[in-house]
């Protein structure tokens, strides 16, 4: 006999875990499917290569169709929150207004979203990086900004206790201290305590929407398996969720499916100094640009760095040239430009069913990147760097869109109830529903939207909503 779950959640990242926490807390029977393995603080891979291979889709080597952009996304219980830096910012009015304009949905406003942000933040330990957290790379960053009269601000990070003498570079491969506020340390344990079942290493192949329930077919550890739910929530991120809907053949019915894909493309510029900088030591990210002109110009700058494998890939050339570059690893400072991309890409399936990410860099986005990179060059020149290098490879970690939220099936995929148009048992609340690029780290907003989606689902199921503003909103 088939076991029927109230909800099946595909994906265990920022969206799926938050949904699981609130749905299970209300007494729902929830099954979570995750393609990746389950690790814990004591079992995360010990080095960069193993982390890439074991925690990321395709070893962190997903390429755009023009092979100019590398897309990095987690494939592990906890999703990309295991491998990201856990920088948690709320959307500003600019981002919320742009979302409201693009979608026609009134809830994208500060007042409404504040309640969702407050609720999810109450489950997280948040820390504004202080001056005593800075490493030399951050000191150089701030020095350069101040010399050039640019505004900067501390980053806000989800962390609990990073202790003394530890290097946060390690936690890009999973935090061994249980400090980084990934889903594995926050929402997932709460959900499991309330009865969540997680099936790791379950790779979903197909989602079939029926009249009474939804069937999810997949493979787990080499064997075919099907599971059944009254509702299925896709929370596999912009690439994973969109791919599943494309595989379900919904493009005819939903012409917006696969459109409006954004990724905040990033360029890293390295400045070489005679002094030892050790950008990889301590808190390797702690400050960001806060200059309102940068927001207007469509980019931001962050102090950042990466492990030897990632850094080695940034430099064109090979042989002695490569070794001369890597020999100076400890002398590198690094600043990244992240562009708020204005021109969308598309997601399609190849003839073989593989996802094709078509995200060429438009002329406008190139100009935004060039403008940001010139400022980075100026910062390094002001600081006395004897050489600089901007990598030609673009990195993308904020993957958004493909299943945009809106009011009509003609130009969106998901409605205000986070329901796929015309498929009432299929829901989405992850970053794939973003209508455009906010220009702000999306993780916290994915959690906030997922909290809103959980409220919507519970209200539909007749479960009392404790929060009175939302109750009034739903009654209205």
């Amino acid at each position: 006999m088939k076991r029927m779950h109230d909800y099946i959640i595909v994906g265990s990242g920022a969206s799926g875990s938050v949904l699981a926490r609130y749905l299970t807390q209300a007494g729902a029977d929830v099954l979570m499917l995750e393609a990746g393995k389950r690790f814990s603080a004591s079992t995360f891979p010990a080095n960069e290569m193993d982390a890439n291979a074991q925690l990321m889709w395709n070893g962190g080597m997903d390429l755009s169709r023009d092979a100019a952009t590398l897309f990095i996304r987690g494939k592990v219980v906890g999703g990309s929150t295991i491998i990201n830096q856990c920088l948690l910012d709320r959307f500003d009015d600019i981002a919320l207004n742009d979302f409201r304009t693009a979608t026609g949905l009134a809830f994208f406003n500060r007042q409404t979203m504040t309640r969702h942000y407050d609720t999810v933040e109450s489950n997280l330990s948040l820390h504004y990086m202080q001056k005593n957290d800075w490493n030399r790379n951050a000191e150089l960053y701030v020095d350069g900004f101040e010399k050039l009269g640019l505004e900067w601000a501390p980053l806000r990070r989800g962390q609990k206790d990073c202790g003394a003498g530890n290097d946060c570079m390690v936690c890009l491969g999973g935090c061994p201290r249980k400090s980084k506020q990934s889903m594995l340390e926050t929402f997932l344990p709460q959900a499991e305590k309330s009865g969540l079942t997680i099936l790791p290493e379950f790779e979903v192949a197909e989602v079939v929407h029926g009249q009474q329930f939804v069937t999810v077919h997949g493979r787990r550890q080499g064997h075919s398996q099907s599971v059944y739910g009254r509702q299925v929530i896709l929370a596999a991120g912009a690439l994973g969720t969109t791919q599943l809907l494309l595989k379900a053949g919904l493009q005819q019915r939903l012409p917006a499916l696969g459109n409006n894909f954004y990724c905040h493309p990033q360029w890293m510029t390295v400045g070489f100094f005679n002094e030892t900088v050790d950008s990889h030591k301590g808190a390797f990210q702690s400050v960001k640009s806060a200059d309102p002109r940068f927001r207007d110009w469509g980019f931001k700058l962050e102090n950042v760095f990466a492990g030897p494998i990632a850094m080695s890939l940034l430099k064109p050339g090979y042989g002695f040239e490569h070794q001369h570059f890597m020999q100076r690893y400890r002398n590198m400072a690094c600043i990244e430009v992240a562009v708020r991309d204005q021109d969308a890409g598309t997601l399609r399936l190849s003839n073989k069913g593989r996802l094709v990410i078509d995200k060429p860099l438009s002329d406008g986005d190139r100009q935004r990147a060039d403008r940001g990179n010139r400022i980075v060059q100026d910062i390094f020149n002001t600081l006395g760097a004897y050489e600089t290098m901007t990598s030609p490879i673009q990195l993308a970690l904020h993957l958004m869109g493909g299943c945009g939220i809106g009011t009509h099936a003609g130009n969106s995929v998901v409605n205000e109830q986070f329901q796929v148009h015309g498929l009432p048992r299929l829901r989405i609340a992850d970053s794939s529903i973003f209508p455009n690029a906010p220009g702000i780290n999306p993780s916290l907003s994915i959690m906030a939207l997922s909290h809103r989606a959980a409220e919507t689902l519970l209200a539909e199921a007749g479960v009392a909503i404790t929060s009175s503003p939302r109750k009034q909103e739903l009654q209205a």
């Binding site: 291979a53 070893g59 080597m61 290097d167 080695s312």
Partner: protein, 143 residues
């Protein structure tokens, strides 16, 4: 690796990887050559989670690299490094392929090399020690 052998690549393909690896990272000062480290022994750990089509395509490429003269591989590596400088009128056709080769080959070679893995009998300085890369993050010791 199963009993010390790759389940994904043949001897000829692995030889192709050693050849291109030694061009990308030759012996130089404290840097051991790619092939001298023995890091190739971990190829299955790196590629075991990749998409089967990517493993197959890499296999074809490595097989070709096993047979191509070294000067041709040099020429190819130079071309790959200049993917952004290809004339505009042919760039849409050529640049994506060159970038793919660049990320694919360098991704595999550099990942293995900077994994820090060495064969047990290696007497070379560890590659992470060569660039003086040390990181630490661990739970506090219980008092």
């Amino acid at each position: 690796m199963k009993l010390g052998a790759s389940e994904l690549f043949t001897v000829r393909q692995l030889n192709g990887l050693q050849r291109v690896g030694d061009l990308l990272i030759p012996a130089n000062g404290n840097f051991p050559a790619f092939s001298a480290t023995g890091c190739i022994e971990r190829i299955d750990d790196l590629m075991g989670t990749a998409h089967p089509d990517d493993v197959r395509d890499l296999g074809y490429l490595l097989l070709a690299l096993n047979y191509l003269p070294l000067f041709v591989i040099h020429w190819l590596l130079n071309l790959m490094s200049r993917a952004e400088q290809v004339p505009a009128f042919i760039a849409p056709f050529i640049s994506p392929l060159l970038r793919q080769l660049n990320v694919g080959l360098k991704g595999v070679v550099f990942s293995l090399y900077y994994s820090g893995y060495q064969r047990v009998t290696s007497t070379h300085t560890n590659t992470l020690a060569v660039i003086d890369y040390q990181v630490h993050c661990a739970p506090d010791q219980p008092h």
